[in-house]
């Protein structure tokens, strides 16, 4: 996150263009929002929010040895309640599956190989 070091832990999930946000395990999500002063998990807003005036750090995920960085600006989904903005990264723990929704897909060029051995390819691009 931001300029911190990359911590490797396997997180498999679904690449879903039809889901807006990025859903990852609680532990990852809490560590991310701990970087933003005033961020909290808001029950009334329905998820993690952070002060709209804050600069959200970037979030980098890896596919194999490649790295894709979601700029902090992609993580801000606008005001949810009184100067708190809704976060683009939310917890998947209750959903039961991690989801690489639009927030993550926007940070890469993604190739869906529908051949008899289906593959998913990720490439970096100028954002």
């Amino acid at each position: 996150m931001g300029s911190g070091s990359f911590v490797s832990s396997r997180v498999s999930g679904i690449a879903d263009t039809g889901t807006t946000l990025l859903y990852l395990p609680d532990s990852v999500v809490r560590a991310y929002y701990a970087q933003i002063k005033g961020a909290q998990n808001s029950r009334s807003a329905g998820g993690y929010v952070f002060p709209c005036s804050a600069t959200a750090p970037s979030f980098t995920f890896g596919v194999g040895s490649a790295r894709y960085t979601i700029p902090g600006s992609f993580m801000n989904f606008g005001e949810a309640e009184s100067n708190l903005c809704f976060g683009g990264l939310q917890s998947s723990s209750d959903i039961g599956v991690n989801i690489y929704g639009d927030v993550a897909l926007k940070a890469a060029f993604v190739v869906f190989d529908g051949s008899s051995s289906p593959r998913l390819g990720w490439a970096s691009k100028k954002l």
Binding site: T17, G18, A45, F77, G96, D102, V110, D113, G121
Partner: protein, 268 residues
């Protein structure tokens, strides 16, 4: 325009020349990249007001989980206050307002072409649309598909589809084969699932006329015979059975590339 070689790249791929300006409003013409390949520009929905609680709520439903009670309460509260603030725009009949559909792409169905703005979804496998068979009480300004106005439509006798969500809301209807064109890529006989019933959240989303499912065809909900997705049907006309998603912050594009050499043997 990005050019792919025959080797799928999982490493760095430079992308030059793509417009990063704000995309056109819904209704503007789609980008045709040339014979055998197609490129679909997504369009920005200017009416979109993101509702975080609703977005998370719908993700629970999509993946078959019951949303926690506090999340339902958050959705109801926020949606109600959003409606109160809205001075113009469509009038919602029920409190659940699905306004997290931020990116839509125009798709042509039938002959002459009926153009609908559909949500491209790699998480599902049904191409379904609002139709002339959707009761008017369940419609709220969406463009509809009218099979009887298409000379190339054929009803799939006895077929039906039904997508169910965890809270019991659903969309369902009957099935037609018709010509579907996305960008310059045409499938002459694609299963087009016409809605005869849609849930409130779809009704409220006035700008989304339906979905194009791009996941594996084995989760298509048509019965008794499952149908192929647009991509599965289009594959044989593509040199490489590949589509790409190049979503941009405040813009978006689903290009589908061909890798077939042209008459002179050049690959592009």
């Amino acid at each position: 325009m990005v050019h792919l070689t025959n080797t799928l790249l999982a490493a760095t791929l430079a992308q030059a020349g793509l417009a990063v300006a704000l995309p056109p409003r819904i209704g503007t013409v789609v980008d045709n990249a040339g014979p055998g390949k197609t490129s679909i520009k997504q369009v920005r929905n200017p009416n979109h007001k993101f509702n975080g609680a609703l977005s998370v709520y719908k993700t629970f439903l999509k993946y078959g989980r019951t949303p926690p009670a506090h999340l339902e309460a958050a959705v109801a509260n926020i949606t109600a206050s959003n409606l109160a603030r809205r001075a113009t725009g469509s009038v919602a009949a029920t409190p659940v307002d699905s306004n997290d559909a931020a990116y839509l792409s125009p798709v042509s169905i039938g002959t002459p072409a009926q153009v609908l703005n559909l949500d491209f979804d790699t998480g599902s496998s049904d191409l379904w649309v609002f139709s002339s068979e959707t009761p008017s009480a369940q419609r709220n300004g969406q463009a509809i598909y009218t099979a009887s106005r298409s000379s190339t439509s054929k009803k799939v006798s006895g077929a039906s589809w039904n997508i169910q969500y965890g809270d019991g809301s659903s969309s369902s209807g009957d099935v037609y084969q018709d010509k579907v064109t996305i960008g310059g890529l045409t499938v002459s006989s694609q299963a087009v699932e016409a809605a005869q019933k849609v849930s409130a959240s779809f009704t409220q989303d006035s700008d989304t006329d339906g979905l194009v499912g791009l996941a594996f065809s084995d989760i298509n909900t048509v019965s008794p015979r499952q149908q192929n997705t647009f991509f599965d049907n289009a594959k044989s006309s593509l040199d490489s059975p590949v589509f790409t998603a190049d979503l941009k912050y405040h813009a978006g594009k689903y290009p589908i590339y061909h890798l077939r050499p042209d008459a002179e043997g050049r690959t592009s």
